[in-house]
Amino acid sequence: MKPLSGIRIADFTVHAAGPFFTHMLSQLGAECIKIESALRPDIFRKPHPVYGRNGPASFDQVASNKLSVRINLKHPDGVALAKRLVAASDVAAESFRPGVMNRLGLSYDELRKVKQDIVMVSVSSSGQSGPDSHFAGYAPLFGAWGGLGYLTGYADGPPVEMRHVMDHSVGLNAAMATIAALLQRRRTGEGTHVDVAAREVASAAIGEALLEAAAGGTPRRMGNGDLRMSPHGAFATRDPDRWLTIAVDDDRQWLAFAALIEQAGRTVDANFESASYRQTHQVLVDELVAGWAAQQDAEEAARLLQSHGIPAHVSWTTEDIAADPHLRARRTIIDVAEPDGRMRAAIGVPIRFSETSDVGIVRGTPRLGEDEDYVFGELLGIGAAERQRLADAQIIY
């Protein structure tokens, strides 16, 4: 049995962060019912030309595993239907702008009236409270507000945009917080409202820099540099755009690395045996390592360094990752079938349990409204005539 079997989620989330959150829980075994309507499908079902192409960008990964129903939330009867679904659920998940659920009549207080111990989880760009709570935002803005974007980048360059990893980090945090809330419900009998703020997730990733700043320091962008380790960086190898990352953690590792560099016919300054010397003479160290790396096959060099206990890895392309035996052995990379039967690589849940081997994606993207027989019929016990009436009135629509 999967860890979260028996937990049901009424899933109102849209875009990236929210759907990734419920995607994580669905892979762990929760039954996740995605609520959309033909009037307002998840925007990620639609194309975004700003990405430079006119096809749906990224819906399949996070919609997989979920059940799909249509409810028109613009109609009072649609709201009533949504509440019936919430009453049959453990978790209500949403990622609208703060205030939208209230306006729809689906606030935490309203949901508690139909399900006293509901765990409501709201994911938004800036949280449910505070002067900026109404702000619209996407991943690059979360990173910008939260400070992570400012600190990422070359020392002499501009800040860097955070992309989907930022959205999904928010979703991962929300999934974790949801289980904490469910454990609390189990202990106390009380539900709660969990409020996940995306910009705060960005800030939480730089907690140490914020603390440094609070004590009067000025953290700055530093590219691939590290405040202690040297060498530390991504180095060009003999093949174009093929980079080897190396991080020498201590002097023992440096001695092993220096021996390899000398075997390759280069002279290594004995002063480099001191970590603090390497740190203050990073430019010289990097020059030496770059000269060595430029002669190497990246994968062979990574294996060589690892065999001497030195942290190293190739800067992998997406194709490298999709083909990797280690990731496939762990079932981190799996193959899933699309509705048209085509196979594609997908990412499973990043957790292995000794007592459960079947976590992960078990079915692909649902068609809009694909699971209404089960959800409206079996689960909510709505008869065929009533469902037809709701469809005719454009409530199931």
Binding site: R163, Q184, T192, A213
Partner: protein, 395 residues
């Protein structure tokens, strides 16, 4: 300001949950930190010389050798000093018998000697959740590989795809870039906490295996998705066609207009310049095609303005725009203050210092840390009892 709601430890989500942490790296430590702020009692086992991250920069200015990284990660935990001969196992039975969760990053090759391998733990502590957080996980051909943050984020693909936008335009030939700090390890910490709590929900002991590479890859899943769609991403091409990072007179902002009305708001924000209003740019695909040209105009416009001026107007016009906040901006942000994102805690050498608490609220209020980082061994030495010593000798 949010009223300072005194949160009783017993009212926190994970009240009553006991965690033992034996960590060296950021991922396992961040997992423990999350569990601690959620109300679990987290016992950090440190060697006599102190946790490895106590000596890791960045250090707090003015507080010689006091690590900001350790302070952030250890806040709210208890510190116990274990015995020095780590090779024989340092976690006493007494602690494991009482614990719900053991979170550790002991390399696979060393778990058996430490008595922390899955089989031994399952046999001796059948109710314990044994959570391993390693760079490449505890299983698979690369389980013994080492990785620091820069290796892990590049092993997970996001490294190769950074930087993007303005940065890669300016420096197309530079090496790909890691995200600042410990982003991949932080993802693993969150995934590990999710795994441990999911196992706790099931209610029986088991081993949970989390890898930093897996976690960072999971949050980067769209690159794999797009590969399946037939498009291979590269940092040089992974830029929004227009918008993105803009340099203003006094700093940087981010703007992203995914929706038509947001683009129209952007045109308003720029006071309807002729180049944007000649009708040809009403088609979003045309805008996308002429992205570089649009960016030339937008960037020239941004350079004439100050951040505060255009950010304020942008949000009023429904244009998603944000200042690239420096750490001090976040720390002093009115929004962050109103939400109680920071809590002043005592930090060794630095005194009372505001520290980020957690990126979520429960029940309409911020969580509260039990305190700052513990002094080494603040909660006492761990002494091995006779049964622990016997169990250790038997290995």
């Amino acid at each position: 300001m949010v009223a300072a709601v005194p949160v009783n430890q017993s009212q926190k989500p994970l009240a009553g949950i006991r965690v033992v942490e034996l960590s060296q790296g950021v991922a396992a430590a961040y997992c423990g930190r999350l569990l601690a702020v959620l109300g679990a009692e987290v016992t950090l086992l440190e060697p006599p010389g102190g946790h490895r991250l106590r000596a890791e920069p960045p250090f707090l200015p003015g507080a010689a050798g006091s690590s900001a990284l350790f302070a952030y990660l250890a806040a709210g935990k208890r510190s116990y000093v274990h015995e020095a001969d780590a090779g024989l196992g340092v976690v006493p039975d007494e602690l494991l018998r009482e614990a719900h969760i053991l979170v550790h990053d002991v390399p696979v090759a060393e778990t058996e000697a430490q008595g922390l391998d899955s089989e031994t733990l399952a046999q001796r502590f059948p109710n314990l959740i044994n959570l391993s957080v390693l760079p490449f996980g505890a299983q698979g051909p690369k389980a013994d590989w080492r990785a620091e943050e820069i290796n892990a984020i590049h092993a997970a693909g996001e490294g190769f795809l950074l930087p993007n936008g303005l940065s890669v335009e300016l420096f197309p030939d530079r090496p790909p870039l890691k995200i600042y700090g410990h982003f991949a390890a932080v993802q693993a910490g969150v995934a590990a906490a999710l795994g441990a709590l999911s196992a706790l929900w099931v209610g029986k002991g088991q081993s949970v295996d989390v890898s930093v590479q897996d976690a960072a890859l999971a949050v980067g899943c769209f690159a794999i998705q797009r590969l399946g769609d037939g498009s291979v991403e590269h940092r040089a091409g992974r830029s929004f066609k227009y918008g993105g990072v803009l340099e203003c007179r006094d700093g940087f902002v981010e703007v992203l207009t995914l929706e038509e009305r947001q683009w129209q708001g952007m045109v308003e924000l720029m006071d309807r310049p002729a180049w944007a209003t000649d009708g040809t740019l009403d088609d979003p695909l045309e805008r996308s095609r002429r992205g570089a040209e649009l960016n030339g105009h937008i960037r020239a416009w941004a350079r004439q303005h100050e951040v505060a001026e255009i950010v304020g107007r942008a949000q009023a016009l429904g244009v998603p725009m944000a200042r690239y906040n420096a750490p001090a901006d976040v720390l002093n942000g009115p929004h962050e203050r109103a939400r109680g994102l920071f809590q002043t805690v005592e930090v060794d050498g630095a005194g009372p210092t505001p520290m980020l608490v957690a990126p979520f609220h429960f029940g309409g209020a911020p969580l509260r840390l039990r305190g700052g980082p513990p002094a080494l061994g603040a909660d006492g030495p761990v002494t091995m009892t006779e049964t622990s010593l016997q169990a250790r000798a038997a290995r």
